[in-house]
Symmetry: C2
DNA sequence: GAAACTGTAACTAGTATGGTGGCGGCTGTG
DNA sequence: CACAGCCGCCACCATACTAGTTACAGTTTC
């Protein structure tokens, strides 16, 4: 069932960082607190986001994390892609099927095409929402739901 | 990473059954052979498909499986939905986040909305392809790729 | 009754997950 | 310089789900 909750952690962390001005560094412990989770877990996810150029870290005392580009330019797909390593959501056969069966001979490649298309549809939908978007909606809700889109 | 390969098994089995006329029962061993897998595993998946009215089984000697409705009316989404129990592809947080943080207070429900929309997009794409469609393409390929759509 | 099926339960081994502790290295402050 | 605060990373744990297998009870045909 399901992929992992890393994408949720990633989006949470990104939105958390989007609250603050750039150069206003936030330590992983603060983010972990908001997630009610562990700093190490947060750093694992943030490390992946950094590898994709979404956030940057500053070491040492007073260090922490910040967005590496404007929140408008970071979509949920970026977060998903950074964090959910390659593996497709819908995996084809565990073992390749029998090559001596008409179905088996073609099913795998056909399934890969269909599943890839389905995954692309999912990612395209994720790409429609940016981190800035998430933050805006949170702020709307916080001051009483005038609803933005 | 990923869900399970049950959907792949389900689509394979459905397409396999679509090869034959209705009332031409196929035993799970034959399907398992095409998958190069185990009859029990196949029956587990077929059992789920039967629960959703996609296939039907006849017990006893000479028994087996058949499609319960025309292959045109069975889509990959039907197979997916029957086999991949409820759990969303993109899970939200493992632990609910901190309620004392502005982000934490709203992130979960916002994520659920976004993730549900993304999953729906994926399922809608799966719904565009029927089992009949899969079989047709396999037969096209088998006789030399005149390509059908 | 034997043979050919479905239907289930119980078990294994492998793998990914969230979570935790420990430790080294970097950096700003006093 | 020492220290505190922070990142980066490794090793480890318990849990859960996976594919695959064995075993066996029930049902039907011959």
């Amino acid at each position: 069932m399901s992929v992992s909750s890393r994408t949720a952690v990633a989006v949470h962390a990104l939105t958390f960082l989007a609250q603050w001005e750039a150069d206003d560094l936030q330590p992983s412990t603060d983010i972990a607190e908001s997630l009610e989770s562990n700093p190490v877990l947060v750093r694992r996810v943030l490390g992946l986001l950094r590898d994709k150029g979404l956030v940057s870290a500053v070491e040492g005392s007073g260090g922490g994390w910040q967005l590496a580009k404007p929140a408008e330019q970071i979509t949920l797909r970026d977060a998903y892609a950074a964090v959910e390593k390659g593996a497709p959501v819908l995996p084809a056969h565990a073992h390749p099927p029998s090559q001596s069966c008409v179905i088996g001979r073609h099913m795998q490649s056909l399934l890969e095409v269909e599943f890839a298309a389905a995954q692309r549809a999912m990612e395209d939908r994720l790409a429609e929402t940016s981190v800035a978007h998430m933050l805006r909606r949170i702020r709307d809700r916080e001051r009483g739901e005038p609803v933005s889109r």
